[in-house]
């Protein structure tokens, strides 16, 4: 069963400089579905729009980001809710109990002048009546921290007093305290060293085993996807260019960009490693015509320079947006375009 459906979502940063408007097309015609209980991985190099996609999924679209079209529908208690047109109060109710979010960068997301405990209080207090029963709140937070293996003393600390790994665990604890059905996690392990990274990923896995949530996991690190994701969507220049179960992505990547990602996969934990293909990613404000990847693609043909490939079925549960891959692949005869059903 699906818990989230994204249809043709477009969200651009509209910038103006010297009186001219410029659109940074950070989320450009993205369609995807998230199924119950799965871990959906989203990968792509820095600046391709992953965080922007998550923010849009959370309904947090504010200037300079603008919603340019498409829908984001959550299925909750047999109701379909379009989060982008939901009244603010309804959206707030949906948050944290049903959908929650682990933001990117753990230092900047915690209020620097309040203790961690106070942050828990305001986040939980927004959804449960903790005034009435402060003891229950205390024990809820304590037991949750203990479950995640975090010292209770953390509650008394200020964000800058904690190490990066600790803060990241705190944001994860904060996001999971109300046992949400769906967790959107944005690079929860980036900028941590390897051992800590593994710990954080393990933590998320444990939570998922325990709470049976669905997780959307954004990270540019393919090794982590290999480790935790059930399905992986690859993002390039604001679009999803390939989407498949994790085994298949690694065994049979179809898009030349995905092939680079997999091909350049280093030994696990090599810190110097960053996703990269030859050449540089295009500016999202000034995309090349046709397939955005064609300037870096070794086998680009003339059609790639003219038309934008759509995401088409290329095998079981495998979709790719590439004219060449679809042609090559024998499994599928025609490149039948696939929207949402």
């Amino acid at each position: 069963m699906d818990v989230l459906r994204v249809e043709k979502l477009k969200a651009f940063y509209i910038m103006e400089s010297a009186g001219e408007e410029r659109a940074v097309k950070a989320v450009n015609d993205v369609s995807l579905t998230v199924r119950e209980n799965e871990v959906l991985g989203i990968a792509g190099e820095s600046g391709c729009g992953k965080s922007t996609l998550l923010k849009s999924l959370l309904g947090s679209i504010r200037p300079p980001l603008r919603h340019m079209g498409g829908r984001v529908t959550y299925l909750h208690r047999d109701r379909e809710m379009d989060i982008l047109s939901l009244p603010k109060e309804e959206r707030q109710k949906l948050m944290w109990q049903h959908i929650s979010y682990v933001p990117q960068g753990s230092l900047s997301v915690l209020n620097p002048v309040r203790r961690i405990g106070d942050t828990f209080r305001s986040f939980v207090g927004a959804h449960l009546d903790i005034q009435k029963d402060p003891d229950r709140f205390e024990s809820l937070v304590r037991s949750h921290l203990q479950d995640l293996g975090l010292p209770v003393d953390t509650l008394k600390a200020y964000p800058h007093q904690l190490s990066g790994g600790m803060r990241q665990r705190v944001t994860i604890a904060l996001a999971t305290i109300l046992k949400p059905r769906l967790i959107l996690a944005d690079e929860p392990s980036t900028a941590l060293d390897v051992v800590v990274q593994r710990g954080v990923i393990q933590l998320l896995r444990d939570i998922q085993t325990e709470q049976h949530n669905t997780i959307v996991m954004v990270t540019h690190d393919m090794a982590i996807h290999a480790n935790i994701s059930d399905r992986v969507a690859i993002m390039y220049a604001g679009r999803i260019i390939e989407e498949a179960p994790v085994e298949r992505i690694f065994a049979k990547p179809l898009h030349p960009y995905t092939q680079y990602l997999i091909g350049s996969l280093p030994r696990i934990g090599d810190k110097s490693y960053r996703l990269s293909a030859p050449g540089t990613p295009p500016s999202l404000a000034d995309l090349p015509p046709g397939c955005a990847f064609h300037p870096r693609c070794p086998n680009a043909e003339s059609i790639c320079r003219r038309e934008i490939p759509s995401l088409s079925l290329a095998g079981r549960d495998h979709r790719v947006a590439c004219f060449l891959a679809a042609k090559e692949d024998a499994d599928v005869g025609s490149s039948e375009a696939l929207g949402s059903q």
């Binding site: 947090s60 504010r62 948050m95 209020n111 986040f123 927004a126």
Partner: protein, 335 residues
């Protein structure tokens, strides 16, 4: 210890440097003066008194030079000035000779401090809260109205606001007394009546200071908070569904207060200047009025005394605030 060295020491050095620069300026400026104050005083004495023999005059001149700190070479004078300053002795007033400047200041000081502290604290708090609210709800009509009002008041020279208020409230609506700090002829016995009288007299001066103060803090706070609204921790809390009031107070205002404390510290000197103007406009009996009368009578010693004292007072205020600051900002406290 590291905290002492990194945070405290530079502040104490700063304190000493402010006083040093202020003192030195105040030492140099009057010495550029074309008239000789000793000669002036002597002339006044000889005009008043009938005849004095030249030796007596010479003695008086010596005594005056000593009193005014004008004896010896410039270096000696400079050292004498600091020595006197450390003792809290600013010499005698030229005009109300031989009353020490310090005595005159001591009488006026409580009026100014009372007015200044109350209005500064009040306008700082109100201005910051209103500014924070207006920034958070910047799309609402009332918030934009508040901003426009503050924007109109903010740039007008303080003197003009005070004058307008004086004309408007005291002549057009004569509810509050226009001038003075208390009713003339009142005896200073502590009583309810006296307090009411003083408050009534302080109302207009205080109101003018508060209006301008609120507008100033409002404008900076509005800017600070509207910048803060893009901070990750505020966006995160909003996504998490934390209530607006909670975010506004505990996230936005709390964080924006910290730079505002620094702002308050740095603008103390300017605020003090504002209070001086108020006092002259409303003839309120504080340091400003004393300064104004010293300008009119050419009482340089008194002027220097007031200026020096304000330098020391403001530097001390700044130092005190710097000492309090780490208690408010955990990031500095726990480094």
């Amino acid at each position: 210890m590291a905290f002492l060295k990194r945070y405290l020491l530079p502040r104490i050095v700063q304190y000493l440097v402010v006083i040093f620069i202020g003192g030195t300026l105040i030492f140099i400026i009057p010495r550029l003066m074309p008239v000789d104050p000793v000669q002036q005083t002597l002339e006044r004495i000889t005009i008043q008194g009938a005849f004095l023999d030249p030796r007596a005059i010479e003695q008086i001149r010596e005594a005056l030079l000593e009193l005014y700190g004008l004896k010896g070479s410039l270096t000696e004078q400079y050292i004498t000035m600091w020595r006197r300053l450390l003792r809290g002795d600013f010499g005698p007033s030229y005009v109300q000779f031989p009353t020490p400047v310090m005595t005159l200041i001591r009488i006026s000081l409580p009026w100014t401090v009372g007015l200044l502290v109350t209005t500064t604290v009040l306008s700082w708090i109100v201005g910051n809260i209103l500014g924070g609210i207006a920034a958070y709800y910047s799309t609402r009509r009332w918030a934009q109205l508040m901003e426009n009002i503050a924007m109109l008041i903010r740039p007008i020279p303080y003197y003009i606001i005070a004058l307008a208020l004086l004309l408007l409230l005291a002549y057009a609506l004569p509810v509050f007394p226009v001038t003075g700090g208390f009713s003339i002829g009142r005896r200073f016995v502590l009583s309810w009546d006296l307090i009411v009288d003083i408050l009534k007299h302080a109302f207009l001066p205080a109101l003018s200071l508060v209006i301008v103060g609120i507008a100033t803090w409002f404008m900076t706070m509005r800017l600070l908070v509207s910048n803060l609204l893009a901070e990750d921790y505020i966006v995160y809390a909003q996504i998490a569904g934390v209530q607006d009031g909670e975010i506004l107070y505990n996230y936005a205002i709390r964080n924006a207060m910290l730079p505002q404390i620094t702002g308050l510290t740095l603008s103390l000197g300017q605020i003090f200047g504002g209070a001086l103007i108020t006092e002259t406009v409303f003839s309120y009996p504080g340091l400003g009025t004393l300064l104004y009368s010293s300008i009119n009578t050419g009482d340089y010693n008194l002027m220097m005394g007031i200026t020096l004292l304000s330098v020391v007072a403001i530097a001390t205020g700044v130092l005190l605030m710097d000492l309090i600051y780490p208690f408010l900002d955990p990031r500095i406290r726990y480094e």
